[in-house]
Structure formats: C-alpha cells, structure tokens
C-alpha cells in the first residue's frame, strides 16, 4: 500500500464540476470566465455565482475546489487578476493556483491565509526555482512541468520541502510552459496573457475532398486523409514537411496517459495527480475521472492498475507516456 495520492480534476462548466465530484474527484480545479486563467475558451468557465454554487456542491461531498489564476497580467491592467484573487478568498476556495510572481506577492500580502499553489505556467522544474517560490511566497504545492521523467521527479522531491502535483492525463504541452510564443506568433494572442493557446477564433477546418486541412491563423497545421483521426491545430502538434517528408516535428497529436506509471509516480513522492481538460465536455470528464479514481485506488491498495479504456476519447485517438518515458526525438 502506498500513500494516497490526491486526484485533481478539471471543470469547465458547473455541469463538469458535478460530473467530476460525482465520479470521485478529490479536488476540482476551475477558472473564472475571463483572461485570468489559461483555459479562456468561449462559452467556458465560471462566473462568481456559479463558483459559489460549485463550492457548496463540492464541499458538501467532501471535495475541494482550486481556482486557477495562472496567466500573467498585462502591464497596467492588474484589475481582473487582483479581483480574481480577492473573490477567491471571499468565496472560500481551497487554494489558488498562481504563476506570476507579482500575483503571488499580492496574494501573500493581501490574503496570507489563502493557500497558494504554483501553476505549471511558472515552469519551475529545478530545486533552486521551486525553493525560491516556497521561501518567498510560502507556496504549499508545485505543479511540475510536463518535461520531467519519473527519476527526475523522484530526485527533485528529495531536494524540496513542498508538495508536488503532476499531470497524468490529457493534452500535453511539451514547451516551456508560460514562456511558449508559438501560438502568439501565429495568432497575435498570447496563451500566457490572454489565456488561450491556439484560440478557436483563429482555427479553421477546410474540406478539400480527399483530405481535411486544419489551419491556425494563416498557417496550415495539418492535413488528415479520409478516415484518419483528426486533431486540434496547435503548432507544437503540427505535421510539417522537412527534407521532403511530412512528419510531426515536435509532438504527435496524442494525449498523455500515465495511468500505467502511477505506482512509480507514487514511489517518486508525488502528492497529487492532475487531469488536464477543462475545455473537454462533461461526458469526457466523467469517464476520465471515474477511470483514474479506479486506478488511484488500486495503486493505494497495492494492486495492479486496471485497464482504463480511454483511447477512444483522446486526441488523435492515441496515447503517449510523454516525458515520463523520454521517448521523443
């Protein structure tokens, strides 16, 4: 039997929050309906009343709620970000997830009792960086970037005195998170300030008869043959022609699925398992949360991880172990 790891699950709408809580989430994380969080998709996220209701629903069922305020404020426009933190404290969320050092300072000073986690958007991946955030802002947990192998996570955990949270399922960002400029270059909108990578307003799918072409802004990102599983046109998952051959230069349009590695992740001293996917529907959230609940419980009981059967709902209908196995080119 290993330490029980916390299951941190996504919610883009109140319906998804209900689905996550009902299917065994220990924590639901979400964002306000604006640019203060990194999933600022149209029609997604929570207004203040919805968060208030969501907190009651979750807390009544023994589930915590974390609020992501994990984008970087624009110069001269701190208002929405400061208000998000003030409202989080007033409404009683269990933790805020922050990336910007200015916001960390604001939260530490104004709301010292509001628990603070360091977002993956801060891209803190070494002991010096993490210890700085712990010493300066008393962060209680660090969400690790998706570029570390399991031995690296284990080594890191021995050198830091703070909880760690790792991604185990969903969209896979392989860039230096919080610093990636690819989407900004293609669309003029920054994932790190405006809160959305590859915004849907710049996405087009065009039917060209024998193939479907996906575009981001003016750039063709991929072309899918008849019957081939499609993907969302993010630049890092594009198929480009180099040396006369079309291939995925950075990463294939697959989803992270580290379920089979949960025992090693537990042994590496990780506190919490994070499921990506606030932009996915509630059917997806219900299925993934339920599957990972079974997996986490099995690991806690010292049993083998069961088959989860999540391939059909992943991007590209394929999975990868991501950096945990370091099999990239």
């Amino acid at each position: 039997m290993s330490e029980k790891m916390e299951l941190v699950c996504p919610a883009g709408t109140p319906a998804s929050l209900h689905a996550a809580v009902d299917n065994g989430a220990d924590v639901v994380y979400l964002g306000f309906r604006d640019e203060t969080n990194a999933r600022n998709f149209p029609g997604l996220n929570f207004n203040r009343k919805e968060l208030e209701d969501g907190l009651i629903y979750a807390h009544d069922r023994g589930c915590q709620v974390y609020l992501a305020v994990n984008t970087f404020p624009e110069a001269g426009n701190f208002g929405p970000w400061h208000k998000a933190i003030d409202d989080a404290a007033a409404l009683g969320v269990d933790s805020v997830i922050l990336a910007d050092i200015g916001l960390l300072d604001y939260a530490t000073t104004k709301h010292p009792n509001l628990r603070r986690h360091l977002s993956v958007q801060a891209s803190a991946s070494n002991p010096d960086s993490i210890n700085f955030y712990v010493d300066a802002f008393d962060v209680k947990r660090v969400v690790l970037p998706r570029v570390l192998s399991i031995p690296e996570i284990a080594a890191l955990n021995k050198e830091i005195a703070v909880e760690t949270e790792v991604f185990v399922f969903g969209g896979l960002c392989v860039m230096a998170e919080g610093r990636c400029q690819l989407s900004s270059y293609a669309t003029g909108e920054s994932p790190n300030i405006n809160g959305v990578c590859s915004p849907a307003s710049h996405v087009r799918y065009e039917d060209e008869g024998d193939r479907m072409v996906s575009k981001l802004g003016e750039f063709t990102i991929n072309a899918f043959a008849e019957g081939e599983a499609a993907g969302y046109p993010t630049l890092c998952k594009g198929r480009f022609v180099t040396g006369g051959k079309a291939s995925y230069l950075f990463e294939e349009p697959t989803s992270l699925n580290a379920a089979s590695m949960l025992p090693q992740i537990a042994a590496a001293g990780v506190t919490a398992l994070k499921i990506e996917g606030r932009q996915r529907g509630r059917a997806n959230v219900a299925q993934v949360v339920s599957a990972f609940r079974r997996a986490a419980d099995a690991v806690h009981a010292g049993e083998a991880v069961p088959e989860l059967g999540l391939e059909a709902i992943t991007e590209g209908q394929a999975k990868t172990a991501g950096a945990y196995e370091k099999s990239w080119r």
Binding site: P42, V203, G281, A283
Partner: protein, 227 residues
Amino acid sequence: MFSSGPTPPLSPILLGGLAARPLSPKLLQPALNTAMTTLSRRHPGLFERLSDLGTPVYLIDPVDLPLAFILTADGEHPTLRAARDGEGSSAIATIRGPMLDLLRLLEGKIDGDALFFSRSLVIEGDTEAVVALRNCVDGLEIDLMAEVTASFGPFAGPVRKVAQFGQGLFSRMADDLSILHRVLIAPTQRRVDAQGAKLRTLEEKINNAPKERSRGRSGARQRSVRT
C-alpha cells in the same frame, strides 16, 4: 440533409428519414417551438454563455434525415427552425453528423471532441462559435426524456413509460440493423482488408528501398577506401 457530410450510418433514423422524405419539414415546426419554449423555461439563460457572440445562427445538419435545423441562439428568445436545407439561413457555422450523435451531444452523454477527432462529426465555418455552442450546451445538463415528458404535465408518468418502451424498440432495431449492415458489407470489407495488407507491404518496400540503396553506396565507398 442526405446530400452532405459524412455517410450516414444504417439506423432506424435513416430509415425513418427516407420514409419521411416526401413530407414538408414545416410539419415539425410546432413541436420544435414547444421544445424551445420548454427548454427556455427549464433552463433560464439558456444561451447566456454565447452572449459574447451576439446572436449567432447555426445550421445543425443531421446527415441521416432529409432536413436541417437552423438554431438562432438568441439570449432571450431562441428559435429552432426545420428546413429542407440551410440556404439563406446566414448561419455562421454548420455542424454535421448522425442525428443520434447530435442528440447525445445535446444531452452531454458523448464527448464532442472525440466525435470530431474520429471524424463522425464535421464542422464548417466559425470554429469559435461551434466551440462556444458545445460548451454552452454541455453545461446545461439537458435530459431529453425529462424535457419531453415535463411538457405533458399530469400525463408525464404514462408518457415516460411509453417513451421508455419506444427507446427499447429503437435500441433493438438499431442492433438488428447493425448486424444487417455487417453482413452486407462483409464481402467488400474482406477485399478492402486484403488490398490494405498489400498496400502496407508495398509501402514498406518503398520505405526500405532508399535505405538499401544508400547502404549500398556507403558500403561501396568504404570498400574503395580500404583498397
């Protein structure tokens, strides 16, 4: 509409759609009006999540029916209109797919992204508007059975029983048609599988050919250096 989008699955809906082809879609309009009124009443602020987009108009196109639906997502007075096609609808986006998938999407029982990634669903036009509609509808927690039976007031109980019986019949018929479909395409499927295997073998040969030539040239150079 039959003429557009992905090939419809062989289903009771397709058969029903073929049978209903001579009828005017306008016959559906009273039922659609009632449905939208009921939805608006049971879900106040139905399309509030779309407010940033103004009043977007969508063409919802079931590929296994001889009609399309035009949804005007007005925050106050949303409307759903049945039409033979989407001509003149000024829709900013079109969503095409089998009717059953569209209904399951409406109820949040199926993952829209997975449907799209598997190419069962086709979208055209303004992707942002489609994503916003998906998020909006997904957040409503619609239960079609409850929505429909609620409009029958005191008769809701008996109507629910009839509807459940109808669902059972539909499922059995869908299963039977699925078996029939597999039987009908089996000979063609075997030929396609055999051709696919041949194609893979040829692709492997082609992929390996340049490496062999390259190894051959490299080997020749090494030999010439040694001598």
